[in-house]
Amino acid sequence: MIRIDNLVKTFGAKRAVDGVSFSVERGEVLGFLGPNGAGKSTTMRMITGFYPPSAGKVTVGGHDVTESPLEAKRLIGYLPENAASYPDMTVRGFLEFCAEMRGMDAPARKKALARVVERCFLESVLDQSIDTLSKGYKHRTCLAQALIHDPEVLVLDEPTDGLDPNQKHEVRNLIRELGRTKAVVFSTHILEEVDAACSRAIIIDRGRIVANGTPDELRSLSDVAGAVTLHAQGASEEKLATLGRVEKLNGSFRVYPADKAASAELTRAIVALADREGWKLDALRTEEGHLDEVFRRITLPDTVKRNG
C-alpha cells in the first residue's frame, strides 16, 4: 500500500532524510524507530503529502503523492506529531468537520462518529471543547480523526506519546487490531512498543535506515543474542571457557558461542559439561537479545560508541 523509493528531504544544507526506501503492505504494522531528530516525522510528513520530497518517490495505494495528492490523501489517516487539533472546537464539532472534509454526507458522518467515539473512548467528552481536555483525551480525539473515514493506510506519528500506561496499552492493542486489515506505519522511541504492536520495524538514524526486520530479527543483532546464561552450583569459569567466551555475572555465568546460530549446540554442550563435572544446574536460558541494546549500539554517535 505504501511504497517509498529513495526518499530525500533537505532543509538548507541539512539532509533530514537521506535515501530512505521501504514498503508496507496491507495487514502489516511497521514500527518506525529512531532517536529524536532522526527523520521519522519528516518521512511521515512526506508520506502524507505535507512535505514535498526533495528527491525520490512516495506512492500510496498506487497513487504518487506528489502527482495525484488528493487520491493518495483520501486513502490515508494521519495522526500528526503532538496530535494537533483546533482547541476552540468541541470534540463532536471537530470530528464532524474532519468527516465533512473527507466528503461524507450527514448519515455517513453520524455512523462514522459513533464508530470512532466508541473505539477511542470519547463518549464522556463529546461536547467539551478540546482545550479543556487532558492530554490523553486530546490525543485520542486526534486519533479518532485519523480513523474517521476508515482509511486503508494509517500513518501515526508517536501515537502513544504523553499517554498513561493504561492508555498506551489500549492504543497499542488498537494499532495491532487495525493492522490486520490496514497498512499501518507508526513512529515511536519506546522499544517495548515494537514488540507490543509491530510486525516489522525499521530503525532510522540521521536520515538513513540502519536496520530493518521483524522484532526478533532486530533482537538477534544484539551482542548477547544466542548467548547462554546458566546458574549452577559448582560451576567453574575455566571449564566453561573451553566452550566459548565467558562473562561472569553475579552468581551466574554467560557463555557466548563463536557463532550466534550455534546456541543450541552450546546449550547441549553446557548440559553435558555440567553432567560430567557433577554441577547442579539451577537455571539455564538462551538469550534472545535486547532491543534497547541494539537500538543504542546502532544509533549512538560514533564518538560516544568509541568511549564506551
Binding site: 528531504k9 532543509f11 505535507f50 488528493l70 490523501k73 494537533a84
Partner: protein
C-alpha cells in the same frame, strides 16, 4: 467547492466560539459611529449622504482588518493544525480561499451591522441610496483587499503580532500612495506622471469612485487583483515553508 465551504464554516465558527468576534463587532461599530458622527461631523454637514461614514473606512480598516486576518495562517502554523488541514484531501488553494472567504463574510457581517446609519440618513433627509449601495460595495472590496494582505502576512510567520504589524504597514502603504497630503508633497519634486503611477497603486484612488456612486471596472479590477495577488502569494509562501 463543498470543501471550501466546509473550511469556511469551521473558520467562521471559530470567530464566534472565541470572544474575537464579539469584541471586534462592538469595537468596529463604536469606532465607525464615532468617526461618522463626531469626527466626520455627520449632522453638521447638512447633506443627506454617507460621505462622512465611508471616508473613514480606509483608516478604520487599517487597524481592524489585520486584527481579523492575522490569525488565519499563523495560528494554524503555531498550533500545528496546518499539518492536519493540508494532509486532508484538499488543495492548498481550496484551504486558502475557504479561510479567506470566512473572514470576508465576517467583515461583511460587521459592515452590514452599520445599517442604522443608512436609516438615519433616510429619516433625516433624502439621500441617493444608489450611492450608498456602491459605497458599501467599495467598502467591502477595500476590506477584502486588506484582508487578503493580512492573509499573506499571516502565512509568513507563526507569530500573530508580527503578522499584524506587517499587514498594517503594507496596508498603510496602499493608503498613503494615494493619500492627498502625500501626493501633494510628491508633486513638488516628481513628475505628475510618476505621482499618478504611484497613486494608481493606492486604495484611496480606487475607493473614491465607489463613494461617488460610480462602479468603474478599473477600480473593481484593482481590488480584485490585489485580492487575487495576495492570495496567490499566500499559496506560494505556504508551499515555500513545506518545500524547506
Amino acid at each position: 467547492m463543498n470543501l471550501v465551504w466546509t473550511i469556511a464554516k469551521r473558520e467562521l465558527g471559530g470567530y464566534f466560539t472565541s470572544p474575537v468576534a464579539y469584541v471586534f463587532l462592538v469595537i468596529f461599530l463604536l469606532l465607525a459611529g464615532f468617526f461618522t458622527f463626531t469626527a466626520g461631523a455627520f449632522f453638521e454637514r447638512g447633506e443627506a449622504g454617507l460621505a462622512a461614514f465611508f471616508a473613514w473606512h480606509p483608516w478604520l480598516y487599517l487597524i481592524l482588518v489585520p486584527a481579523v486576518g492575522m490569525r488565519l495562517w499563523s495560528e494554524e502554523r503555531r498550533a500545528g493544525t496546518i499539518e492536519l488541514l493540508l494532509t486532508m484531501p484538499v488543495t492548498t488553494a481550496q484551504a486558502i480561499i475557504g479561510k479567506f472567504l470566512a473572514s470576508w463574510l465576517f467583515l461583511a457581517l460587521a459592515l452590514a451591522l452599520t445599517f442604522p446609519v443608512i436609516i438615519t440618513a433616510n429619516v433625516l433627509g433624502d439621500p441617493d441610496n444608489g450611492v450608498i449601495f456602491t459605497g458599501y460595495i467599495g467598502s467591502l472590496l477595500l476590506a477584502g483587499a486588506y484582508l487578503a494582505i493580512s492573509c499573506m502576512t499571516s502565512a509568513m510567520t507563526r507569530n500573530q503580532v508580527v503578522a499584524f504589524i506587517l499587514s498594517v504597514v503594507l496596508c498603510l502603504f496602499l493608503i498613503l500612495a494615494g493619500f492627498s497630503p502625500v501626493t501633494d508633497l510628491m508633486v513638488r519634486w516628481a513628475s505628475p506622471a510618476f505621482v499618478d503611477t504611484v497613486a494608481a497603486f493606492s486604495v484611496m484612488t480606487h475607493f473614491d469612485g465607489f463613494q461617488k456612486g460610480v462602479i468603474d471596472s478599473r477600480d473593481l479590477l484593482f481590488f480584485l487583483s490585489v485580492i487575487g495577488f495576495a492570495l496567490f502569494a499566500t499559496g506560494a509562501i505556504i508551499r515555500g515553508h513545506r518545500a524547506g
